[in-house]
């Protein structure tokens, strides 16, 4: 986990970052989930790029493993935000991703996107963090830009559509 104060920072798979206003955190997801949490009162937010649903099923000590799995990444990002000065009662969450990139191909792995989103939501509910917006499912990749201070998430797809949540 890094803390950065540059204007723009990109994260990759299984990476996490917490930053203060006015940093923009970006990533690109297909079946993965970009989970963003922020405290807009204290102008601090973070993003984690989640790859798989559950740590205990698969992990054999890969790099960044806590951040890679939904069930461990959600509490990891929450702790990181609180340790950098966010207040739990102000923290909200948004998620994007969880697509099925090859919808015509029937393989269990392609349901990973849906499973990822479900485990993230369940874990947020357990921790009492409100999920205020989401843009999940479908079959398109998402290019995401998250404003750490305000919590605005900008989502672009290759068909040229842009959404803000």
């Amino acid at each position: 986990m890094n803390e950065e104060n540059e204007k723009k920072v990109r994260i990759g798979m299984a990476e996490m970052i917490v930053a203060r206003n006015p940093t923009i955190i970006s990533t690109t997801v297909g079946s993965c989930i970009a989970l963003c949490m922020y405290d807009s009162i204290n102008r601090i937010g973070g993003m984690v790029h989640i790859v798989l649903p559950k740590k205990e099923d698969f992990d054999k000590g890969n790099i960044n493993s806590a951040q890679k799995y939904a069930d461990t990444a959600v509490p990891a990002l929450l702790s990181a935000l609180i340790s950098k000065g966010a207040k739990k009662e102000y923290i909200k969450a948004k998620i994007a991703g969880g697509a099925n990139m090859f919808p015509i191909f029937n393989h269990p792995i392609l349901k990973i996107g849906v499973n990822n989103a479900n485990v993230v939501k369940k874990k947020l509910a357990e921790l009492g963090i409100p999920l205020v917006a989401e843009d999940t499912g479908g079959n398109r990749g998402r290019i995401i830009e998250f404003e750490a201070g305000s919590g605005t998430m900008k989502i672009n797809t290759m068909d040229g559509k842009e959404r803000k949540i």
């Binding site: 990109r10 990759g12 798979m13 299984a14 990476e15 690109t28 997801v29 297909g30 079946s31 993965c32 790859v51 798989l52 698969f58 054999k60 890969n62 790099i63 960044n64 890679k68 697509a99 990139m101 090859f102 015509i104 191909f105 792995i109 392609l110 990973i112 996107g113 079959n139 398109r140 990749g141 998402r142 290019i143 290759m158």
Partner: protein, 214 residues
């Protein structure tokens, strides 16, 4: 040089021949793929083999460095116990050029509808990946049968992540072959990416070794 240098080399030497054997086999497959692509579009295509690497799945997007580039990815899987994923990647514009050239040469047509483009790009996958695999099959005397192709067009990292998730599920590292396709002076970006599994890798090395040694 000193004995210390020799022992350094000695420690590494177990690794070098295995990578070299895979590079040798991969280059042969890529050479045949280039010939097939050349015939398809009736222009000379050459292929270089700039990189073969092994990495954790999450390191792969940074190593390939394509990120948000719009790409066409044609996917095939090896059937049977070798179960591993093969991706043929082209930049979206390059894929359009290849398809146009192929259809012009094959059907003498300028206008393409979406359905023809879709079939054509999957046929490119059949031919290029098929040639790649049959060259390796002939060399190693292994049966490498791929599934029919499916393809998608999207930003590269979004397409890649499901394959990397799958490798993570199986606790496997990714072994990546990255190939550049070149046409005349114009650089066409293309890559054949194969995620080898341990069984296939060991088999290729063992068969390659006995061929190279004698």
């Amino acid at each position: 040089m000193s004995g210390q240098d020799e022992s350094e080399y000695g420690r590494n030497s177990e690794m070098i021949p295995e990578n070299e054997i895979l590079r040798e086999i991969g280059s042969m497959g890529a050479g045949h793929a280039a010939t097939a692509l050349s015939e398809l579009i009736q222009q000379k295509i050459s292929i270089t083999f700039p990189e073969i690497f092994v990495a954790y799945p999450e390191e792969v997007p940074k190593k390939l460095g394509l990120h948000d580039m719009p790409t066409v990815v044609i996917y095939k899987k090896l059937q049977g116990s070798y179960d591993c994923d093969i991706l043929l990647v082209f930049g979206r514009e390059e894929a359009d050029k290849i398809v146009s050239a192929m259809i012009r040469n094959t059907f003498n047509m300028e206008e393409l509808d979406e359905e023809m483009k879709k079939s054509a790009i999957e046929e490119v996958g059949n031919i290029v990946i098929g040639s790649f695999l049959s060259a390796i099959s002939n060399f190693t005397d292994m049966e490498l049968l791929p599934t029919p192709p499916i393809h998608t067009t999207d930003v590269f990292d979004a397409i890649l992540d499901v394959f990397l998730a799958k490798l993570s599920l199986q606790n496997r590292k990714a072994m990546v072959f990255q190939t550049c396709f070149k046409k005349n002076d114009e650089k066409i970006y293309g890559a054949v990416i194969i995620f080898l599994n341990e069984k296939l890798r060991a088999e290729l090395i063992s068969r390659g070794k006995s061929w190279l040694e004698g």
